[in-house]
Amino acid sequence: MRTLPFAPALLLILLAACASDLPKATDIEQMRVLGTKLSVVGDEDRATPAPGESVHLSFVTVFPDLDGTTEESELMIVSCTAPDRFTGGLPICQELIDAAESGEVESGSVLTAARKVDCRDIPGRRQTFAGVTVACVSGPPEIDLPIPDDFEAESAMFLGVLCEKGDAYFDPTTTELFGCDDNDGETIALHGTYPVRRDAEDENHNPDATKLSIEMEPFIEWRPIDGTPLAEPGALSDECLAMADALAADVGGDSASSPLMPGVDVGAHQLTLRFPAEERERMGEAFESLEISIHTTFGEMERQFTVWTDESETVDAKRGDVPIDTDPPWLEEDVSWDPDNDVPAAGQLVRFFVTVRDQRGGFNMSTYAACVR
């Protein structure tokens, strides 16, 4: 009997969806990297670099508490050519595959030393050899990486590690390849592939997260970020207000458009996500897909993802045939949130990190907040 590939895996995925006691991806309980924002150096709106250009990678990092910081972090990154065919697991640089298949390994790169290497072993904390770049960054995890002029593949890739407070290293003798020494915090191994632009049709831009609006029902008050006083002063606790003020000065993503939604009661709430349907970037005739992912520092999200594809000409993306009847037309979806943890009497500031991906490498993030009591 011929067996279908992936059938057991798919069954397990479905079972995993029903698992109840495991930590949820929507919960921010430790330092997390929610995505990588790519922007071409010299053309920050564009997310797809071309051969000969440099791409700026910003690893968007969030913390459960307001005092979380990346000032003590160290990032080690290897940049290379993405493999021709990737069947799963961790991608391997095409340069490495070519070397393994040909049996010819050029010495000279710190990566071929066949021993553990940390950032101090890399001359100038950056080395490019045979098309492969290895680099280290301390502090906020952002780095510029070059795309060689003669880059011919469709995609480039990166892999490495972000150490919250330790020293990053590369060790080819281990399965993990990367790790952190003396790390009093999180170790986040990371990787990714992104397309390299050939012509105008390949060009992609990061989605504009400022276009995404979120409303929460029921709420007590609405306080825009520009400092307008509350309609009813004293409605929030002083502690909550203080935290909200700090957040207003320290929001991630596009700070100019991150509204505060203070003053919600304990109990389930409905978040309504809205995005102007015609503000999506086009890929030829079709609109690009938008994948919204919501994370929270408190309470429980109903689910992680909302996806609007080009077929989403209806209000409810996958469900009914209700046409968009708003003017201008909106894409809209409801996600519930339940702050069912014990809420302090003084109130609890809750932050929502909302990422927007276009499933072509484009990424952006916004932060929202609410005060629960």
Partner: protein, 881 residues
């Protein structure tokens, strides 16, 4: 005066008595008085058989004096050891002290035609071994005074025909007598008390043939003496040979396979935990590993599920179970038996290197209409049979599940919208026609359908790619025509032709879509011939033809076994995506030849098979051989060795997905076994096996072109212990234990465990008829857990936002052991024309957790076990007319 040649009968009988008496004394039974041959005071056919008795010769056959010895006036006494079967015929005859000059062969040939009243113990016939000295001596005979012109007075043949298992009278058995040249043919039918009489038979030696409904036909010779009545008692066996049927005699196949396990009709639907499904019983056989979550995968002696083939009436079945294991595609009450060959099977079966399951349809009853209706918590089925004429009958069966109603209600209010709730159905229509005593035609129309479609309105947590429709649909329909023909006394032919449609659909939103559809065509012709007393030949041609098309969208196809990503690893978001659409045509012809050489006590079966695989333009040649040695009565040693080839799976060779230049894989099977009948109906067996897998198909190291190569190998070894009690009385049961190890070596990277390596498999099943219509049974299984690959870390794909697992050593961990108890209880009420049964079949009675795997959180940092199937009760009602 002339010399007359004959063996000394009375002296020989005395010797038999002495031996039989000694044996009976050893068994604790008293010796019986001297027997006499047929016609001279043989026990009356209607007399009650004694409780314990040695065999009694009732028909003596005079040997042909060797010509050379006769010319020299030589005499001799040949000592022969005879095994008398339970029906009184001679099963084996072996010369213990050869004397030469042709006397040995002549004596054996005569002795093989002897007929005995079988030995008995506690009233039941048993096989027995006796010593018999066949004496060739000369004596003078006075020629009788012949009255010229007076014709010899006719004789008659009278007797009774009984059932071997309980001596019940068999009515309606046709008794046909004729001279060897076919003259003086007469026939009659036994009366209600099993008696018959054929009178006015000229004296001489006659061929007597008995043909009874549901019984193995029997043929033998009787001597009719002038003016006398020859009284006989014949006992007919139920057919053990699944190839025997109806009134058409067939050349029975020899025991070709080293190991063959048969589940007979009486047991197919009564074993607890199988929900009355015949094909589920195979999972309880030795050497069969347990599939995860009860999915209908057949993992035989450490081989992959795709290495084992199920056949229905000789032709492969595409899809064996509904929804991967819930229930099989055919109504079990249509089946006669399920034969399971875990390895070293005949060259009649090919294109597979693991095991074979052959499912045979039963003959449809021709006496009257019959029906069975069964309704339980999961599905309802109906079976109806009826005679069309004396030579034709039809059967119609259908089944449909109603799990969809329960599922829809359970899914109400969740994020899962039911577009098409899980539902399955199957149907079978079978018609049989016997245009002559030598022919049997059968037409079967059957099909099966499974369908499920769910809508995940938004992606599942952890993988944004998994959203949308989850669709699972399989459907096949087939028309199968067969013709069984007896070409001559020594040659049979079977011809089978089948045409069917197949459609398989599987999808998970936009992340994965697979559809395969096609028309499958099978044609097969097999000839079986008896070349001589010692040699039989089987030859055949078979052809598999499948034009079809498939569409695939999803991650690049990778090695399925030995790939942790196939065990629920990296998310779809983190994999590449390919789309392939292809038309294909599979053409796989084959030819095979097998010879069976009986050199008692050893039998050799030697065969060869040649296959061609058009899709890869490759051939394979499989030589196979086995030997069976009868060491003693009820004791058999068997061994076999052979090559078994298999073509790659279509996704491994399809351009765009795989490598069209792959070669077929092959496996060397070596087996050795021992079977001992302890008493009639109770046998134990021990089998050892070793398999080496060559040219295993594995993925390339980095997943790049050519994507798959034949750079893998495997080794599997183990032993099986089995004990079986046949359903002859109130009780039947099985005990099986398998100890084995199955390993693979991919690309020379070192040996590792097979994904489904289960070193210990213990199964105990017992069914007991309590009386007053009650029957109860239990099945217990204890099985090693499957290996799994630990996840030792993860890496975040910051572009997709999903984590990819980092794996430890492949299959270096193991799930906890599995244990489960199933119970079944049934109460049956009987009336003259119908019966009703109420049954309860409970799977996993004590609700054992039986973790089947591990589920991790979104970043593979914490985990939980995945619980196996819980307690599943199934209450049902069955009516039968």
């Amino acid at each position: 005066m002339k010399l007359v040649r004959f063996g000394s009968l009375r002296l020989a009988i005395a010797a038999v008595l002495l031996l039989a008496a000694a044996r009976a004394a050893a068994q604790g039974a008293p010796a019986e008085p001297a027997p006499t041959p047929s016609g001279e005071g043989a026990p009356a056919a209607n007399a009650a058989p004694p409780a314990s008795a040695p065999p009694q010769l009732i028909k003596f056959v005079e040997a042909t004096w060797p010509q050379a010895a006769l010319e020299q006036g030589l005499t001799a006494t040949v000592e022969i050891e005879i095994v008398v079967a339970i029906d009184g015929t001679v099963k084996e005859a072996k010369v213990t002290t050869p004397v030469g000059n042709g006397f040995d062969e002549a004596a054996v040939e005569a002795v093989k035609q002897f007929v005995f009243e079988p030995a008995r113990k506690n009233g039941k016939p048993i096989a027995a071994r006796v010593r018999y000295p066949y004496v060739f001596e000369m004596r003078k005979e006075v020629e009788p005074e012949v009255v010229p012109d007076a014709p010899p007075a006719p004789g008659q043949l009278e007797g009774t025909v009984l059932a071997i298992e309980d001596d019940a009278a068999l009515a309606g058995v046709r008794v046909i007598v004729s001279m060897p040249d076919g003259s003086n043919a007469q026939s009659t039918v036994t009366a209600a008390d099993g008696s018959f009489a054929i009178v006015n038979l000229p004296p001489g030696v006659y061929s007597v043939r008995l043909e009874g409904e549901g019984r193995t036909p029997r043929e033998q010779q009787e001597e009719i003496v002038a003016g006398q009545a020859t009284s006989v008692a014949y006992r007919l066996l139920e057919p053990r040979d699944p190839d025997a049927f109806g009134a058409v005699a067939r050349i029975p196949p020899p025991p070709r396979e080293v190991t063959r396990r048969t589940i007979a009709k009486e047991q197919l639907t009564r074993i607890p935990g199988t929900r009355g499904d015949a094909l589920r019983t195979v999972e309880l056989m030795p050497g069969v590993a347990r599939p995860p979550l009860g999915a209908g995968l057949l993992i035989v002696r450490g081989s992959a599920p795709s290495d084992t083939q199920a056949l229905f009436e000789g032709l492969p079945v595409s899809l064996l179970y509904h929804f991967g294991g819930l229930t099989s595609f055919v109504n079990s009450r249509l089946l006669k038996s399920v034969d399971f060959y875990p390895g070293n099977f005949s060259v009649r079966y090919g294109r597979r290197r693991g095991g074979i399951i052959e499912v045979g349809a039963d003959d449809i009853k021709n006496d009257a209409p019959h029906g069975v209706a069964d309704i339980n918590l999961i599905d309802a089925s109906l079976l109806f049979t009826m005679p069309v004429s004396e030579d034709a009958e039809i059967a119609l069966a259908g089944r449909r599940s109603y799990f969809d109603a329960i599922f829809t209600a359970a899914a109400e209010g969740s994020d899962i919208q039911t577009v098409a709730a899980p539902v399955y159905y199957d149907y079978q229509l079978i018609g049989t026609y016997r245009p002559s005593d030598r022919d049997k035609l059968r037409l079967m129309l059957f099909g099966s359908s499974d369908n499920l479609k769910l809508l995940f309105e938004q992606p599942v947590d952890g993988d944004a790619s998994v959203a949308g429709d989850f669709a699972f649909g399989t459907e096949f329909h087939r028309a199968h025509a067969s013709w069984r023909r007896q070409l001559s006394k020594d040659v049979d032919q079977d011809v089978d032709v089948a045409v069917g449609a197949l459609d398989v659909d599987f999808g998970l939103g936009e992340a994965f879509k697979f559809n395969l559809s096609g028309t499958d065509i099978y044609a097969r012709s097999e000839w079986r011939g008896r070349v001589s007393e010692k040699v039989r030949l089987i030859g055949g041609l078979d052809l598999f033809f499948l034009p079809g098309q498939f569409t695939y969208k999803g991650p690049p196809v990778a090695q399925s076994e030995g790939n942790p990503d196939n065990q629920g690893g990296a998310s779809f978001s983190n994999r590449d995506e390919i789309t392939v659409t292809d038309d294909f045509t599979v053409i796989q012809p084959a030819v095979y030849l097998e010879t069976d050489i009986n050199l008692f006590p050893v039998r050799f079966i030697l065969g060869s098979r040649v296959d061609y695989y058009d899709e890869i333009e490759e051939w394979s040649y499989d030589p196979r051989g086995s030997a069976h040695l009868t060491v003693a009565d009820g004791t058999t040693l068997k061994g076999g060795i052979g090559m078994f080839s298999q073509p790659p799976q279509f996704q491994e060779t399809s351009p765009g997905l795989g490598n069209p230049d792959l070669e077929p894989t092959s496996t060397l099977h070596v087996g050795l076994g021992f079977e001992q009948r302890i008493v009639e109906g109770f046998t134990v067996g021990v089998d050892g096996f070793y398999k080496h897998l060559y040219d295993n198909i594995v993925g390339t190291q980095f997943g790049n072109a050519p994507f798959f190569t034949n750079d893998g190998e495997g080794r599997i070894f183990g032993g099986e212990l089995s004990a079986k009690v046949d359903p002859r009385g109130r009780f039947f049961g099985y005990l099986s234990y398998t100890l084995s190890r199955s390993e693979r070596n991919d690309r020379g990277e070192g040996w590792r465990l097979f994904d489904f390596d289960q070193p210990h498999i213990l199964t105990v099943a017992a069914v007991y008829r309590l009386g007053r219509g009650w029957e109860a049974g239990a099945t217990f299984r204890m099985v090693s857990g499957n290996p799994n690959t630990p996840i030792i870390g993860s890496s975040l794909n910051t572009i997709t936002g999903a984590y990819s697992p980092l794996y430890g050593r492949l299959n270096s961990d193991r799930n906890p052991a599995f244990n489960r108890l199933d119970l079944r209880i049934e109460k049956e009420w009987r009336w003259p024309d119908w019966k009703l049964a109420l049954y309860l079949d409970v799977q996993n009675v004590y609700n054992a957790e039986n973790p089947e795997g591990i589920v991790y959180d979104y970043r593979y940092d914490q985990s939980e076990p995945v619980r196996g199937l819980p307690i599943i009760p199934n209450l049902g009602l069955r009516g039968e007319i």
